[in-house]
Symmetry: C2
Subunit: 281 residues, 2 copies
């Protein structure tokens, strides 16, 4: 065991990409996954040095840094049931796309000799599984650290350092509440919009005429239904508020169109053009 | 005057791109625009051989093929006021993004010795003006011809041939009604969605965390407010119906989220993933 050993729990798309990035950064990376096939794939690819499908205290307790790359509810359950396997003094982090319901719950029940700090790598792909993992998706992407009053400055710094060494473009710190509000709007609402565009009417006849606009707006409509249902429900109140704001915007446009109210239409579009500039890369 | 002379009326982004594509295809291209600067730019660039800012019968009547690259209402007004300038037997086409209110109105009032056939090049850019024109945007794009009972087979064929020679990827024929229904959904609704996403709440603090999803969904939120207000209002009833369908989809998702109804969420997302496959390039 050295300072630079990391255990990845959950070798999916993100777990595999973390393993690759951390190995490249000089860490020795171990992994636990339910699938022996995933472990073997990662060993073959050289992105982990050891792996197991068993929950074994000798194995887990070798590590002082553990990254949980599981779906949020599975992660919380893992901690509830198996935290006795973890060595005292270990720092735990995660990759969950929602923070408020995960971070406070884990911190509340965690043994006092362990520390958990939430993190969210804002990167992904339309495909899942370790076989599609690729740490180049982290390049230029945002790595968000969401500390609470329960976190130590050294843990916050170690967590940020992890993001830096994996090659993320930007490391930011924000509260779990700020995180979930932002992600509810930028990510969850946009997925709802794409899904609704894709399913709200018969479109098979239209596919052949589609230009880039519709394609861009529905790229994320090909969606992992298990993960996103879980993320939506964990951020329920925030997401419903974003949907209401957005639908209010649609209704405002609809009223202006119905009334032939060119001035309102133009003024909303001017505001839109202006605000979009802030989001240019 | 030869078979391969074309007059472009309106040298903006699309007019300029048409001029470039047609010149490359071997046509001799003339142009009329309100701005002498635009004419001079196009002459300098070699994408037209002659141009004028005046409405002159000697100039206009040299051409037996005229493409109107104006906003829809401006085009209809032009025909109403100046069709006496056009030589008998001339074929007229356009580039308007809505068809029902343009095509029938122009065909109704046009002199019986002229023929108008609607067309819509589904290509564009976020910028406007002849200075941003570039006929490479037509490559792979859809060129839609919207004939009515008033059109002759030879005019339909000539119009399609124009699209082919400009390098469009796909030439299709559909009725003005089918066109407006499709464009109301694929193009106008998506622009409403992007504008509403961009304006429905305060976002300046969020810009630094934005990933590709939000950026993709709001690329078209930088929008020409004059042109799009006109297009929305000309297709008012169709567009309002698309907004209602889409908002209905958002409300369905919202209800499922509020009720914790995982089965509905998953089933809508599965449908979404499946339907999106038809739109892959």
């Amino acid at each position: 065991m050295t300072e630079d050993n990391v255990l990845i729990v959950g070798l999916g798309l993100i777990g595999g990409s973390y393993a690759e990035a951390l190995t490249k950064a000089g860490f020795q990376v171990g992994a636990i996954d339910r699938s022996m096939e995933s472990i073997e794939y990662a060993l073959d690819k050289g992105i982990i040095t050891e792996g197991t499908v068993r929950l074994d205290k000798d194995f887990v307790s070798k590590y002082r840094l553990i990254v949980f790359c599981l779906y949020p509810n599975t992660f919380v359950e893992w901690i509830r049931e198996h935290q006795d396997l973890i060595a005292p003094g270990t720092l735990i982090t995660d990759v969950s796309g929602v923070k408020v319901p995960v971070v406070y719950e884990v911190q509340r029940m965690l043994r006092p000799d362990l520390e958990f700090i939430g993190a969210h790598p804002m990167a992904g792909r339309e495909r899942s599984g370790v076989g599609n993992s690729d740490c180049s998706v982290f390049k230029g992407a945002n790595y968000l650290v969401t500390p609470t009053a329960a976190n130590t400055p050294s843990a916050i710094e170690r967590c940020k350092e992890l993001g830096r060494r994996m090659g993320f473009g930007k490391i930011s710190e924000l509260s779990p509440e700020e995180h979930d509000e932002m992600i509810g709007f930028l990510s969850q609402l946009t997925h709802c919009v794409a899904v609704s565009l894709m399913t709200c009417r018969e479109t098979s006849e239209m596919a052949k005429y589609s230009g880039d606009s519709f394609r861009d707006l529905t790229r994320i409509a090909a969606i992992n239904e298990t993960m996103w249902s879980e993320l939506f429900l964990l951020n329920r109140d925030v997401l419903i508020r974003q949907i209401d704001l957005f639908v209010g915007g649609m209704e405002k446009l609809k009223t202006a169109i119905a009334d032939g109210d060119v001035e309102t239409l133009k003024s909303v579009m001017k505001e839109s053009s202006l605000k979009r500039k802030l989001f240019e890369k």
